[in-house]
């Protein structure tokens, strides 16, 4: 094989693991891209900020949807289906949850916002979705979410839907899933 061929071969052989790594790099890239743009409707934890608070906010309706992922037997529903809220004001909503089984289980709620371009304007100070819930058999709880919709929400949006899907993660290794979620929150 001549020198040129060896050089081409080396370059191509290097390209293969690089593209393999690129496939994996798409995972954090996707997360960052979605976090910056709010494209997939995911909402991340934000700090309390006085700048966002204002008195003359617009009226909006905030609708809650709760979904149980397959094989998740818990009762999970919002305390109120719809809340009238104002932009620039902190509101707290609660979700009722009950472990209907006879064993201790751990759950993780995953949020989503529709329309997706509202996601980046929805600021969550606290959310049960930022941590896992462990409930004993028959135990029930009210899970709070404290949020604010910033006033620069596009004016054509009059109605925001905040939905949560609750997953049974009892069998997952806790530290692993937690680590993943914490990474996302940062």
């Amino acid at each position: 094989m001549n020198k040129g061929a060896k050089e081409t071969l080396t370059k191509l052989i290097i390209a293969v693991p690089l593209m393999f790594a690129f496939g994996f790099a798409l995972v954090p890239l996707y997360d960052v891209f979605c976090q910056v743009t709010g494209l997939n409707g995911k909402v991340f934890q934000s700090e309390h900020s006085d700048e966002l608070v204002r008195e003359d906010g617009r009226q909006l309706s905030l609708q809650f949807i709760s979904t149980n992922n397959e094989n998740m037997p818990w009762t999970f529903e919002p305390s109120e289906q719809v809340m009238d809220i104002q932009t620039g004001k902190y509101h707290t909503a609660t979700f009722y949850v009950k472990n209907t089984t006879n064993k201790t289980m751990t759950a993780q709620a995953v949020p989503s916002v529709a329309p997706s371009n509202a996601a980046e304007h929805l600021k969550k100070l606290e959310c049960f979705c930022f941590e896992q819930q462990e409930l004993k058999p028959g135990e029930e709880a009210l899970l709070p979410v404290k949020l604010l919709v910033s006033d620069d929400l596009p004016s054509n949006i009059k109605n925001i839907i905040l939905s949560y899907t609750i997953f049974d993660i009892t069998e997952y290794e806790d530290d692993q899933t937690l680590a993943h979620h914490q990474m996302e929150m940062e």
Partner: protein, 527 residues
């Protein structure tokens, strides 16, 4: 390394070894090309048999022949086998046979890797097909294996599927590396890049696409493997992952993949139309630039496969326009083929019939692709039989017709005998009618709302489904005629001349027919 040693041996002009070891140990590009082509033919027949099962079940509404679970396994394996076992190895086989002869090289640059890249392929498909006999059955999640269908809800055999995709990927990557190294370094003096035959150009671009995206596919299935067995959550929402991410990664591979399956066809058809029009190809350099722009654009259009996942408007508009942009270079190519035929002295031997049918029918497939690119319309068409009709039009009378055209065109060079022209034409017309009767009605039932991937359908789709099934049986069984013609040609027939076709140009036609075991051991002189 090995090429040098072999060149030395070539002075003795020894023939192939005898017996089975010839095929097991061969490093000869012609032998390996033949192996690839026969392997692909076998896979084409197996994948075709699965299509027959599918169409038999869809012949009438209601469940007749197979269980829904088995139907799902059939559609999955049909797709995987036709793509990774049928079309791709056929093109690699053609590249092996033709690229060295077209550029005046004695062999591929990496002959031993060439042997390896072929011989791991049968194992990949053995593993994949054996999953049919495993507990829980074969993969049943469609060839696109979307998570979580292919992770959380997959049958246990999914691990074997992942393993076989890894092997197929390794094989394709090695084949592609071999093609690039050969083309970039082993061209005879005087064969500059812009003088290369278009088939070589098309394969150079295809090989780069393969090297870029096959590792991404390997990454995707590796992530699946980790989600299934090692407790990660790449695609699992409960653990913080995202199933939509799978679709992005998959289609980042998947869209370039569809051009991997069509670019070599562009090269083949350009040669055949040029030969049988007895004219110089119209617009050679624009053909090259068109293929390059199609290849580059293929990396920025992937999300048009997933318009309905809930993307923001800006992204949908971007992917819609980028997709429509591809129609421009493709249109240039179609124009050039038509312009080449314009006022040519055309004869319609079998390869030309397939090539002309390719131009017409591929354009129909391209047009329905444009319809699918329109975002608001795609919400209606998504996951219906319209999509099935679209991609079968570009793959069957597109990629597969081009492979058949290539076989008829070059088989006299490969085995020294002319095929039976009468039977070849019969095969063409049966296939042409069969393909259109099969897939054209699927446009109608798709637009009327019949979803894909179901074993049953509503009554109003019954008539066209029956027509489609009749066409499929016609097309399917015509391929046995193709098998017969190929075997007959290999066994004997009218002897072919070196040039074979009156209008044939290019280095491969300057050697005898059948092509000697070693060609161009000394580089040819190019004027």
């Amino acid at each position: 390394m090995s090429a040098v040693i072999e060149n030395h041996h070539d002075d003795h002009h020894h023939g192939p070894a005898k017996g089975i070891t010839r095929w097991l140990y061969t490093t000869n590009h012609k032998d390996i090309g033949t192996l690839y082509l026969w392997f692909s033919f076998a896979m084409f027949l197996i994948g075709g048999a699965m299509a027959m099962v599918i169409r038999a079940e869809l012949f009438q509404p209601g469940m007749q022949i197979v269980e829904p679970e088995f139907y799902n396994q059939m559609i999955t394996l049909h797709g995987l086998i036709m793509i990774f076992g049928g079309v791709m190895p056929a093109f690699v086989g053609l590249a092996n046979w033709l690229v060295p002869m077209m550029i005046g090289a004695p062999d591929m640059a990496l002959p031993r890797m060439n042997n390896l890249s072929f011989w791991i392929l049968p194992f990949a498909f053995f593993v994949l097909l054996s999953s049919l006999f495993m507990e829980g059955g074969a993969p049943n999640f469609g060839w696109t294996f979307y998570a979580p269908l292919s992770t959380t809800y997959a049958p246990p055999s999914v691990t074997f599927f992942i393993f076989s995709v890894h092997i197929m990927g390794a094989s394709s990557i090695m084949g592609a590396i071999n093609v690039v190294v050969t083309i970039m370094n082993m061209r005879a003096p005087g064969v500059s890049l812009m003088k290369m035959p278009l088939f070589v150009w098309s394969w150079l671009i295809t090989a780069y696409l393969l090297i870029a995206v096959m590792p991404v596919l390997a990454g995707a299935v590796t992530m699946m493997l980790m989600d299934i067995h090692f407790g990660t959550s790449f695609f699992n929402a409960a653990g913080g992952g995202d199933p939509v991410l799978f679709q992005h990664i998959f289609w980042f591979f998947g869209h370039p993949e569809v051009y991997i399956m069509i670019l070599p066809a562009f090269g083949i058809v350009s040669h055949i139309i040029e030969t049988f029009s007895r004219k110089q190809l119209f617009g050679y350099s624009s053909m090259v630039w068109a293929m390059l722009s199609i290849a580059i654009l293929s990396f920025v259009v992937w999300a048009h496969h997933m318009f309905t996942v809930g993307m923001p408007l800006a992204a949908e508009i971007f992917f819609m326009w980028a997709t429509m942009l591809i129609a421009v270079p493709t249109g240039v190519k179609v124009f050039n083929w038509v312009a080449t035929m314009f006022r040519g002295s055309i004869t319609f031997e079998t390869p030309m019939l397939f090539a002309v049918a390719f131009v017409v029918l591929f354009t129909i497939g391209g047009l329905s692709g444009l319809m699918l690119a329109i975002v608001p319309a795609d919400f209606q068409y998504h996951d219906t039989y319209f999509v099935v009709a679209h991609f079968h039009y570009v793959l069957v009378p597109g990629a597969i017709f081009s492979i058949m055209a290539a076989v008829y065109y070059w088989i006299p060079k490969w085995c020294g005998n002319m095929y039976d022209e009468r039977l070849g034409k019969l095969h063409f017309w049966l296939s042409f009618v069969g393909v259109n009767v099969t897939f054209f009605p699927q446009h109608f039932i798709g637009l009327a709302g019949m979803p894909r991937r179901y074993p049953d359908y509503a009554l109003q789709f019954a008539d066209w489904n029956m027509v489609s099934s009749v066409g499929a049986f016609l097309f399917g069984f015509s391929q046995l005629l193709f098998l017969f013609i190929v075997i007959k040609t290999v066994m004997g027939g009218k002897k072919a001349t070196g040039q074979v076709w009156e209008g044939a140009k290019g280095l491969e036609w300057t050697v005898a027919s059948p092509a000697p075991y070693h060609t161009f051991t000394t580089p040819p002189k190019i004027d």
